[in-house]
């Protein structure tokens, strides 16, 4: 009990001390994961909407594949991206390995299937409601997808948050493609892994608490924003 109390006060102390290194690590974590989630939304939302709207042979298999990919192991994604971005890999010439960009790529791949699958589920319901109207209006597939994403944006923000949760919490992918380089690619989760390996279990746990608080903060901010926007303008 006393140990968990000291972890809590350690976490609080870290935050209150305004430690520049901690803040730069937090900032990098947020930058990498938020960018990755934004990119994943850009790809995943239209993909999910497409699968919700368009019937084509093999659609069932595509949906099953997407659902399976929701649980991609981060370390496998990390390895895949490493092999792509390595100097010996097909994209090695860009020299992206061990940069935040590589981490963004890895996390984007990691969370796109999750966001697409959740988007497909929620947009399929909305599409059921709008289908006859849109067909009556002769809306193209593209316009249908755009309208569904726009009108479903509040429920889709939940999908984005799920993606963010997965991105900010994973360590397996970013540690391989980022290399956990101090001041360059060190994020919250890789710092926690590092401190654990140094035997600084209390510090690692305190950082874990901060990470949880961070995720909680982002969630609360999005939900609050959502509720306000919904109340102000739409239902």
């Amino acid at each position: 009990m006393s140990e968990s109390g000291s972890i809590f006060s350690l976490a609080l102390g870290l935050v209150l001390s305004g430690d520049a290194e901690l803040w730069s690590i937090i900032a990098l974590s947020l930058r990498v994961s938020l960018t990755a989630v934004a990119l994943a939304c850009l790809i995943g939302l239209p993909l999910g909407a497409f699968l919700a709207v368009v019937r084509f042979p093999g659609r069932g298999a595509a949906v099953a594949l997407l659902n399976a990919f929701m649980g991609l192991p981060p370390v496998v994604v990390g390895l895949f991206v490493y092999l792509m971005l390595s100097r010996s890999g097909p994209l090695g010439v860009f020299g992206l390995l061990y940069t935040p960009a590589a981490m963004i790529v890895a996390q984007t791949i990691l969370v796109t299937p999750l966001i697409a699958a959740l988007a497909r589920q929620s947009l399929a319901d909305l599409h059921g409601e709008y289908d006859e109207l849109f067909r009556s209006l002769g809306l193209s597939t593209g316009a249908t997808i755009a309208a569904l994403i726009w009108d479903g944006r509040y429920s889709l923000s939940t999908a984005a948050l799920a993606g963010f949760g997965r991105a900010i919490a994973e360590v397996g992918a970013v540690i391989i493609v980022g290399g956990n380089i101090e001041h360059v690619t060190r994020v919250m989760t890789t710092t926690i892994a590092l401190e654990t390996s140094k035997g600084n279990l209390a510090l690692a746990m305190a950082l874990g608490l901060i990470l949880i608080a961070l995720a909680l903060g982002v969630n609360a901010a999005v939900l609050a924003l959502n509720r306000t926007a919904r109340r102000l303008a739409y239902a």
Partner: protein, 258 residues
């Protein structure tokens, strides 16, 4: 005659009739082995308000969806002005459903959704006009899904009207509304009709049919029982089933069908 596809307002009323006459020939529709529309043929001109009447399950809604291209016929043909039901013909039709489908946007934005092709000022002007005619100006910013049922249906009609259709289909637009709401909806339908738009409307409300109809098509058991001018239909329906329907009696044949 060619017309610029976007500029609906510039269209002359005379030009309206161009997707008419509607000709339906030996139209059938079956689903899971049941013939729901049974060898129907008729012809319709692009004027006036036509009411589709008939018992529940008679096939009115199916027929309307076939005419609008939401369903594909099992056999038979539908032509509009001699043309098949292609994209261009469909673009000149609009439909309002029994339960209005409201986009999760403000009332105003529900209208703008179908006016995307109009440039800013023209769009604004059209929105004003549509809101005013539907008496929705005071709630333009309200989320459409928070409007009352009657307001939602007026918004749905205004949205359908925004596409400048040659024909407007309405599937029981005022079912389950109180008299005042029903009246407001009928006012708006007359307004759309005054634009030169042909109205085809399904209703079970005999009073509404009497108020609005120029002619009545009575559908029974997937067939057209009779198609008469309104005054004549209400005075002397040419069909036994229609007479029973109007008098509120059960028609055992129709029941058998169900």
């Amino acid at each position: 005659m060619l017309k610029p596809p976007d500029d609906g307002k510039a269209r002359a009323v005379a030009d309206r009739a161009s997707i008419f006459p509607l000709e339906v020939s030996r139209l059938s529709f079956s689903d899971r082995g049941r013939t729901l529309i049974d060898d129907v043929s008729f012809r319709m001109e692009g004027r006036g308000i036509t009411i589709l009447m008939g018992a529940n399950g008679a096939g009115k809604s199916l027929l309307m969806r076939l005419l609008h291209g939401l369903l594909q016929p099992t056999s038979g043909t539908i032509t509009w002005g001699g043309r098949p039901l292609d994209v261009e013909v469909r673009a000149r039709q609009a439909m309002v459903f029994q339960r209005p489908t409201m986009l999760r946007r403000s009332a105003e934005d529900n209208l703008r959704f179908v006016l995307g092709h109009l440039p800013g000022p023209a769009q604004d002007a059209r929105v004003e006009e549509l809101l005013a005619d539907a008496k929705l100006e005071h709630i333009r910013k309200t989320p459409a899904r928070l409007l009352s049922g009657g307001e939602q249906q007026r918004l749905a009609i205004a949205r359908a009207r925004a596409t400048d259709p040659d024909v407007l289909f309405l599937d029981e637009p005022s079912a389950s509304f109180d008299p005042a709401s029903t009246f407001a909806i009928e006012e708006l339908i007359r307004r759309v009709h005054a634009d030169g738009t042909k109205i085809i409307l399904i209703t079970h409300n005999v009073g509404q049919a009497r108020r609005l109809a120029d002619d009545v098509v009575f559908v029974s058991r997937g067939r057209i029982d009779t198609h008469q001018p309104a005054a004549e239909f209400f005075a002397k329906p040419r069909s036994r089933t229609a007479r029973a329907y109007l008098e509120g009696r059960l028609d055992l044949d129709a029941l058998d069908y169900l």
